[in-house]
Subunit: 197 residues, 2 copies
């Protein structure tokens, strides 16, 4: 049975993720500040750093939740299609990604705004969540391109993820090649329909 | 013959683009500030706004130059290949895009950081530069997919641009799916080789 201290620590840990998630969803990653969080959580700033080494790790934990929600949405879209042609499954996943990004724009944006290049070690659970997402893409890709080496399958899987991400990102940013949702869906469908034809 | 005032105005216009370009290349878009530019150009802050309505328009002019350099690099890569199979030409362009982004990361990043969503009218010359880039992609796509409607060709052209952009962007950001140059090239080659096979 965990000690009272440990239970209290775990409670604060979860509360900070809840509060931080609301900040990210409503105001974005940059608005995540220790002092505001401490006030909202009814604790000292020091208590936050007793639970998370820094705000970067809190943001990672929040992104981890977003990742899980994304995975649920993507696998929910592809689950009922297990007997459908692989290309159809890829399209369903691409469109689920677009929908998730549109419905959760701030949290989804935070996934890509967080700095992973600081030489910080990326937590194992984070890599596992990313791999679970790539697994969904790998299955139909392997069926469509049984001729490819395992290495090239990986490149194609990651390349497809980045491609769909690029279409959604540029489309939602309404910058250089802004397009409405229906047109984004069509772009994603066209690109993914080219695989292994 | 232009008046002396007009010549002086044009000189300052070009000098501000030169100076601003150096700022963007070395420090990025956010470092573009009227006061620093005025000091460097040896003019008053007011004189800048006599030549550009605001810094947004100066940034647009600088991005226009970057766009032109990008177009030259992309068409330079595809020019000698005019008799090559369309798929090979697409790959050459994709790899030229990757090289340009790697060699001009700050200027290239500024292309996508500038806010086009403010309801500001996008200048005609900017749209023309973008269209010139899409033209290069449209030719091989039309050859590869003569069966597509004109509308779907447009979606595929823009979708392919966004796809390659997504691969390069995520790859260079060294964030979520970081990969070395050689692997990015392979991803681009694999994705583009799927078109119209």
């Amino acid at each position: 049975m965990p000690s009272k201290t440990e239970t209290r620590r775990q409670d604060l840990h979860n509360r900070l993720i809840d509060l931080g998630e609301t900040v990210i969803i409503t105001q974005g990653l940059r608005a995540l500040k220790a002092r505001e969080l401490a006030t909202q959580a009814g604790c000292s700033v020091g208590a936050i750093y007793n639970v998370f080494p820094d705000l970067h790790h809190l943001a990672l934990a929040i992104n981890g939740r977003t990742f899980k929600r994304l995975s649920v949405q993507v696998s929910g879209a592809v689950g009922p299609l297990s007997t459908a042609p692989p290309c159809e499954r890829l399209v369903a996943m691409g469109l689920a990604y677009l929908d998730f990004a549109q419905e959760n724009t701030a949290a989804w944006t935070a996934l890509f705004e967080i700095d992973m290049a600081l030489g910080e070690e990326i937590p194992g659970w984070y890599m596992a969540a990313l791999e679970a997402l790539f697994d969904h893409i790998r299955r139909p890709v392997t069926e469509l391109r049984p001729d490819l080496s395992a290495e090239d399958v990986e490149f194609l899987v990651r390349g497809l993820f980045s491609s769909i991400h690029g279409i959604v990102w540029l489309g939602l940013q309404k910058r250089i090649s802004a397009v409405p949702h229906k047109q984004l869906s069509r772009m994603i469908t066209l690109i993914l329909s080219e695989i292994g034809v």
